[in-house]
Symmetry: C2
Subunit: 296 residues, 2 copies
């Protein structure tokens, strides 16, 4: 079977998303206080994998079977990155993770202060909905709903609260629920929004849902596995030390081998879900594999 | 002319809004981590004038000429209060106004900590859009758009950034622009959303716009005037002391009498705008008068 050229696909898609984000920010510029816009732009245009917008555009393309995605899909893709960016800005705040650096650059509040960083996050979050609701197409109401459900109290923000809880039980059910909400819900929303923007029917939406749920979980498990194996290799200490230290990860709770197997099973489920949409060796299958292999 | 019984109208409307908010929060409960829901509920159900939802419902009632507002108008009204509440929670944070008390109770972060208060604000903001986009009516897309424009970087959040700027010029244009964005934009959105939910046409929407803009500005001028007159009476010092201290208020910039005149003119403009909608002595005219008289 021929191998899909993911590297060149990602290069093109990321460039496309960067271009779209720049245009959207430019369009907002006349109405927004310059200092606020600068702070929003600082974090929004700081690079990154752009996984959520790429998933959204890829689903839209797969469903609509057109290489030119609609303005609807593009607005949805940008909105997803606005939401993801706000969550990083707020996560980095001193009262949250208190991080000074992100991707090698000072975090937003280190450059603009805590007050403006908080407000820039609030603005990115709110403006995401202005983007999605900004055109005449009726499907945009559904997209607003998906975005709000994925990002809100029963989705991403709810998962963050589960993550900072002091009494979180070291149990696979809690760990899975936390990640399904914290990172999974927005990834699932990205897939569903792409399917909706592409005009997908109920069955397509269900496939996007399965794919997003599986990829989101596989993505997180792979992160945890890598933390453990990197530690074991680099620091020469046994993996068991992490579990003993009570680290709240899949390897700590399930063991390393079972975690790897779970991630592989989730990737297989994701690929099976999209096979009827894109055939064999399409970009979505490649993206699912990439979710667990990206750091290796 | 017979006088509209605003007191009894407000009592009924506020009770109605309180009831709606409680139902919406109950409906969310099964999906949301309990600690997050508690923090959201703490600030959401802490009382207050409920001005924005009351304006929204009043416009919807005036336009639809029905005493039973639709589910659309009610969701919009609740969403406006979600947004207003999140803005108060974030405003009170140590990095912003650093307030310990609001309406005589400890602020959200004093009870739940800064991290959860930040996340509860984010959740209220996001869930507002889930409420508005949650039903099948096509007008909900327009409501999402109005809410995002009123609350986002070119509206409320933008105004907050203008307010915390260190180099803000003591000029009437800057002061007016700041308040139009910081409090006016969401009040205008409340009126426009009510008009849209009630099925209003373009002309009605323009009237809601004028009314919201005028009432929002009159509301803020009255706040500033009261600060000055209360100070002058209670502290026995001349009003000029506030202006000399460089306080960024309408009396400081325009003078006390000119400020009072401007507020009165704005109220008159608001009342004129809605007269064709509700006739003489309707609730919207009474609410406009209340905006400048509420503390006296």
């Amino acid at each position: 079977m021929s191998s899909f050229d993911l590297e060149s696909f990602l290069r093109d898609q990321v460039a496309r998303v960067e271009g779209l984000l720049r245009v959207r920010v430019e369009e907002m510029a006349p109405e927004v206080p310059p200092r606020l816009l600068e702070s929003m732009r600082y974090s929004l245009l700081a690079g990154g994998k752009r996984l959520r917008p790429v998933l959204c555009l890829s689903f839209s393309d797969a469903v609509a079977r057109a290489s030119v995605a609609s303005r609807v899909a593009e607005d949805a893709a940008c909105a997803l990155e606005f939401i993801h960016t706000y969550s990083l800005v707020h996560d980095d705040l001193p009262s949250m993770d208190d991080d000074d650096l992100r991707r090698g650059r000072p975090t937003n509040h280190k450059v603009y202060g805590e007050a403006l960083a908080t407000l820039a996050g609030d603005a990115l979050l709110t403006d995401a909905f202005a983007l999605v609701a900004g055109g005449p197409e009726p499907v945009r109401r559904l997209l607003c709903r998906e975005l709000a459900m994925g990002a809100g109290s029963a989705g991403m923000v709810g998962g963050q609260v589960l993550d900072i809880a002091e009494d979180r039980p070291a149990h696979i059910d809690y760990l899975t629920r936390m990640h399904r909400m914290k990172t999974g819900a927005l990834i699932r929303a990205a897939c569903r929004m792409g399917a909706l923007a592409g005009g997908g029917d109920e069955e397509t939406l269900a496939r996007a849902d399965t794919y997003g749920d599986s990829v989101g979980l596989a993505f997180q498990i792979a992160d945890d596995v890598l933390d453990v194996t990197a530690t074991a290799e680099e620091m020469g200490k046994p993996v068991g030390a992490d579990a003993a230290a009570g680290r709240f990860t899949f390897p700590a709770v399930l063991g390393l081998e079972a975690s790897k197997e779970l991630a592989a099973r989730k990737v297989a489920e994701a690929i099976a879900a999209v096979e009827p949409l894109e055939g064999e060796n399409g970009p979505l299958a490649a993206l699912a594999r990439y979710a667990v292999e990206r750091h290796s």
